[in-house]
Chain length 333, copies 2
C-alpha cells in the first residue's frame, strides 16, 4: 500500500452537511522513516461531535481546516514498521482522520489488545462512546441507588451504553429514540420503558406517563424538546449530564433553549456539560467493569456499518437523520 484515499473538508456546511462539503483525494504514503510505522486502517468512526468542528467557531477543539482531512479515530493494522515496539500485523488505534492509511511516528499510535472483542468495538462500546456513557452516569450525574434514569438518543452509540450500564447497576431506565425498530432495540437491551419520540405529540406527557414519580437523572444526547421534557419531569435534586444536543447541531439559526429552565431553581437541579476527554482517567475502571458485563451478557451492542471510505460522508450524515442503530462505523478493509 503506497497510495490511499482520504476525505477532506471542501466547504463548511450550512445546516445538514451534503456531499458537496466533502472531497475525496488519493495521496501517496511515504515509506516509514526511523521510528515510524505505516498503517492500513480497517475501521473508522463517525461521531456527532464532528459536526461542531466543521464550523469555523472557537470551541474546546479547533475547527477542521478547509482542504484538510477530516479528523477522527480509526483502528488499523501495521503494514511496515521502523520501530521495535510495533510489528506488521499489530492492531493499532489512532486519530489521523478519515483515510485508508497513513505513515506516522510509532509513538503517535496506540497498540490495541482486543482482549477477545472485535477490534471495531474500541471505536464504540469499549472505546470513547462507552466511556462517555460510563463517566457521564457515574461521575457527572453521580448515579446513586434508586435513581430513575432517562436517556435521549438511547439507540445510539452512547445512549445504548447508558441504558445498559444503568440497567447493569440496577436502575429503572427510560430511553427515547425515533421509530419502532429503535424502540424494539431498546426493549431488547433491557430498557424498562422506551419512548418513540417521533410518535409522541407531547414528549413531556409521554415522559410523565412512564415516570409518574419523576426522574432523578437525565443523560442528554439530544437537547431541545427532550431537555424541556426532562426538566418538567425532574425530581428535587435531579442531576442532568449534558453530553450532546444533536437536535441543534445542524440548525442554521441558533435554536432557543428550553422554555422551562427556571425549574432548575425550585427543583435544585444540577445540569453539567462534559466531554469525555476530561474523564480518560476512568478508562481502566470502565474496561474492567465492561469485561464483566460482556461476560455475563449484561452488555451487548449493535453496529451500523457503511463499507468503503467513499461512504464515510453518508455514514456521517446518517447520524443526524437517524440511520444508525448503535454505533455508526465505516469499514475500510
Amino acid at each position: 500500500m503506497t497510495s490511499v484515499r482520504e476525505i477532506r473538508l471542501k466547504s463548511r456546511p450550512r445546516g445538514l452537511p451534503t456531499a458537496e462539503n466533502f472531497e475525496m483525494a488519493t495521496v501517496d504514503l511515504p515509506a516509514p522513516g526511523a521510528g515510524e510505522v505505516q498503517v492500513k486502517n480497517l475501521w473508522m468512526t463517525v461521531d456527532p461531535y464532528m459536526r461542531g468542528r466543521m464550523n469555523d467557531v472557537k470551541s474546546y477543539a479547533p475547527p477542521f481546516a478547509l482542504g484538510k482531512v477530516m479528523d477522527g479515530g480509526a483502528i488499523g493494522e501495521v503494514t511496515a514498521s521502523n520501530d521495535p515496539a510495533l510489528k506488521p500485523g499489530d492492531l493499532v488505534q489512532s486519530g489521523f482522520g478519515w483515510r485508508e492509511g497513513f505513515t506516522a511516528p510509532a509513538k503517535s499510535v496506540q497498540k490495541l489488545d482486543p482482549r477477545g472483542l472485535p477490534p471495531q468495538a474500541f471505536l464504540g462500546a469499549a472505546g470513547m462512546p462507552g466511556l462517555t456513557a460510563y463517566a457521564g452516569l457515574l461521575k457527572v450525574a453521580a448515579l446513586k441507588d434508586g435513581d430513575v434514569v432517562f436517556v435521549s438518543g438511547a439507540a445510539g452509540a452512547v445512549g445504548s451504553m447508558v441504558v445498559q450500564i444503568a440497567k447493569a447497576k440496577g436502575h429503572t431506565v427510560i430511553g427515547s429514540a425515533g421509530g419502532a425498530e429503535k424502540v424494539a432495540f431498546l426493549k431488547s437491551i433491557g430498557a424498562d420503558h422506551a419512548i418513540d419520540y417521533k410518535a409522541e405529540k407531547d414528549l413531556s406527557a409521554a415522559l410523565a406517563r412512564v415516570a409518574p414519580d419523576g426522574i432523578d437523572v437525565y443523560f442528554d444526547n439530544v437537547g431541545g424538546e427532550h431537555l424541556e421534557a426532562a426538566l418538567n419531569s425532574a425530581k428535587l435534586f435531579a442531576r442532568f449530564a449534558i453530553c450532546g444536543m444533536i437536535s441543534m447541531y445542524n440548525a442554521t439559526e441558533p435554536p432557543p433553549g428550553p422554555r422551562n429552565l427556571a425549574q432548575l431553581i425550585g427543583k435544585n437541579i444540577r445540569m453539567e456539560g462534559f466531554i469525555v476527554s476530561h474523564h480518560f482517567g476512568m478508562m481502566g475502571q470502565y474496561a474492567e467493569e465492561l469485561a464483566g458485563w460482556v461476560k455475563s451478557g449484561k452488555v451487548t451492542w449493535k453496529e451500523t456499518v457503511f463499507e468503503g471510505i467513499e461512504r464515510a460522508p453518508d455514514a456521517f450524515v446518517g447520524l443526524f437523520t437517524g440511520e444508525n442503530l448503535g454505533k455508526m462505523l465505516v469499514k475500510l478493509a
Copy 2:
C-alpha cells in the same frame, strides 16, 4: 392593638401584578391563649420569589391561596405574651405574611437578637437574601481562588451581597444592573466592573469587553439574555449558581431559554439551581463571617423603603420594574 390590616391575594396575575390582584382587609386579633403571643410587625419583606407563588402551579412551595393573606417574612415586637420565653418588647422574626400583626403560638416565632444591627437587616443582608448570596457563591458555585465572578441583578438584595462577599474574598467582580444610579452604587460597593444592561445593545459584547479572559462563576438572578451572555463568556469548568430568573417571572408566554445552551458541553459548565432553604445549615458560619465584614467596613447595604402596609403591593411590583436599590422593605410601624 386588637385590629390590624392585612393584604390578601384577590386574583392571580397574568403578567406583571397590578393593584387589582390584591385586597386589603382589617381583622381583629384574638387575645393570646396559653403559650401564645401577640406581635406587632415593624417591617415586612417583599421578594421576587413570591411572584412564582402567586401562580397556581406545583412548585417547591404551594401556591398562595386566593382570598388568603400573602405569605412572607416579618420582624415584629411582642405586645402580649402567655409564654415565659417571650415578653412584651422582645423582637421576633416570623413568617405569617403581609400583615400588621398577629396572634400565634410562641414556638412559631423566633426571638431576634439584633447584635447591634438594625432589626430589618435580618430581612436582608443578615437574613435570607444574604445567606442566599453566601451559600450560592461558596457552596453552589464552589468559589475558589482566582475566580472571576459575574452577577446579574447586582444592585438588588441578593446581588449586592454577592458583589461584596466575592470582593471580601478577594475576587474580581463584574455586576450588571439597570441605570446609572445602580451602576454608581455597584462601583461604591467595590465591583471592579459594572454593566448598565439597559444602556448596552449587546450584553454578550459588554461582558466580553470587561472580562476579556472570560468568567469562572456566574450568579444568576435574572435569566434570559444575561444567562446567554454568561454562557458566551464562560471559561472551561465555569460554575453557574442559578438563584433567580426575574426577567421571566412575569412572562405571559413561556420565554425561550438561552440559544447557546450547547456551550455547556464543550466548556464543561456546571449550572445548578438552588433555593436557600436547603442551605440554612450555613447560617451560623455566615453570621460569623458577616459580623467581621460589617465591622471592617467590607460589607454594607442599602434599603428601599415603602411606608405602610397599603404600599406593600407597590413595593412588590417595584421589584420587577427595578425600583429598588438594595433590599426592598415595607415599614409597618
